[in-house]
Symmetry: C2
Subunit: 391 residues, 2 copies
Amino acid sequence: MVINFFYCFYRCCCRGDPTMFVEYWKKAGEKSSIMIPGWHNLSYFPNNNGGNVCWFLEKEFSDEVKKLHESVGNATTKDRYIVVGTGSTQLYQAALFALTSTDDDNDHDYSSKPMDVVSAVPYYSSYPAVTDLLKSRLYKWGGDAYKFDDKNEPYIEVVCSPNNPDGHTMEPVVNGNGGKLIYDLAYYWPQYTPITKPADHDIMLFTVSKSTGHAGTRVGWAIVKDEKIARKMTKFIEISTIGVSKDSQYRAATIMRAVTESGQSISLQLAGNFFEFGKTILVDRWERLRKVAAENGAFSLPKYPKQSCNYFGEIREAHPGFAWLKCNLENVEDCESLIKGNLNILVRGGKNFGMDNKKYVRISLLDHEDKFQILLDRLATVSSSSTKIKA
Amino acid sequence: MVINFFYCFYRCCCRGDPTMFVEYWKKAGEKSSIMIPGWHNLSYFPNNNGGNVCWFLEKEFSDEVKKLHESVGNATTKDRYIVVGTGSTQLYQAALFALTSTDDDNDHDYSSKPMDVVSAVPYYSSYPAVTDLLKSRLYKWGGDAYKFDDKNEPYIEVVCSPNNPDGHTMEPVVNGNGGKLIYDLAYYWPQYTPITKPADHDIMLFTVSKSTGHAGTRVGWAIVKDEKIARKMTKFIEISTIGVSKDSQYRAATIMRAVTESGQSISLQLAGNFFEFGKTILVDRWERLRKVAAENGAFSLPKYPKQSCNYFGEIREAHPGFAWLKCNLENVEDCESLIKGNLNILVRGGKNFGMDNKKYVRISLLDHEDKFQILLDRLATVSSSSTKIKA
């Protein structure tokens, strides 16, 4: 093996493990800590639901969700329903269930055709596996939205914006009459992308994993316009996991409160504005990554338009949490297989995102600084004239 | 409405909300509390996995699971795999997936017949809804195991022991050649039933909801003999929720450690032995409930054999967390509909458990004392000679 490149050195690189935020939270101090006495949170039911449609939702959590969106300006929550989930992955399934199941609990008609679920390439690599996990008769993965044969039948299009893996702002591409839309807005936060307007769609998914960096807490939320859809999503989560960890909901509320307050008064937080912290690191990493790419010519990176960001009050471009690398080397058949086979290291090649394994690889920019530097160092050893690669 | 009876006055009664344990944990003090600083648990990956097959399992959690089982003597964990789940409900689905899915990720053959999942009546009311939630082509609810037509084809039998709702110790009833077994042992703990031997089955499910009372934490675990099954269960949970809340795993570990220690040294814990606390309350509640039943004759209760309990070192009978009431009134068509329709209160009638709504109702004995007393007071107003019930 002559050249090691385009891969994750650590398993976590592949998942976008958001450990770069640890440094911020170490500085943030007590305001972000939570103490849970042994006698708290025993019940299945919320300490205070506040009359929410989602019966297992803690009011404190939904209050902080609304305050955070209000302060960031990235989503409309007024007159919307909040549904909490075990990460946005569970909420994605809840939305599929809500959009495809009938109202009749006793409907055992298994003959109907599953509804197609599509998303534009390159799409988030987990969508196909999650959608087809149980081989449901309600829905099935239909692949690339650009190639979807719209026959005026119902379908679901997942719009991931900014898109994972390539960071671009997305709109629906099918635009068929029978289309139902799920917006996955996990990365629509100021550290990653310009906040141009409050998103306002029927079903929007968010997660603390990417907004605050607390992936291990496994908490996400959906903002839903239609009460019936919110109720069906709640039903899915009730049946599949009897709600969502209250400990995690309270912890996420504490963390989100700290984020909101960090943006309101610098003096409150030694650590400074949370989103400023994230943006500063990502701007720096993208500069270093683009420098390496420009110098060796072995790969290219997406370009992002300059847009007005309402949150930071400036014209800026996106600095996504992932880099979608296009490989310019001609003698590589399949980067993913090469790396997995020779190095036994997990990597996400383009094929996972509905694209070409030879051409594209996704890497994470959200890891610890030392790991990111190793990645850069290795990428720097590649050159466009490299021709010898033993597979 | 002349008589209000056999129902849950509170929604939580129906789910077996384990709030009677709050009193214990209020006494247990600091040892059962947990402090989580803002910078902890950001990663998707465990702080320390300890080489477990389940990649998102925290070693501290699995260590405490093993110590607790060792101290109680209710399950074998030596040379077994521990899989953590978002409650035992998720682990149940993970087990169904593991026992029915093929090894081929790219297997899109949807033509095969779903495998039947059966359980002996009265079965836990959630099994049918959870099994058929997504109308999977992998498995489907097959109903009462006693009526299952075994054709020497593969099937899954769920053995819930002690059984929810009726508290009896259960064995498999089909005993066919193609049978695969899942043991739901949520209630196999000393506060509910005599611990006669360490359970030792291929797949065993447990949950903190019923063992320690922390339902809101949404954590359960499976003890699995076969590595391949443990890996497939892990895969299911990875895809459906990208693991299990680390905050919840650490909290559950803290709570379980306190339970184990409470049984080892009374001086360590002002609250005393946790299982002794639970048993004392349940023995008392069953006595009071049996007294009401004997006095009015309107309903009967199951009887349990006296068995040797290794944990308490005494001959005792079961005092389950639920009471499975058999209605002796002749003029009631459907207790559940009557109560839901007239009182708008949720209740679980026998039909939910594969039985008769007229004859059977499940009530919880795990609620707060004041609620349990109200239940008793109302049950006491019923008499076997009651004939007038307006529906």
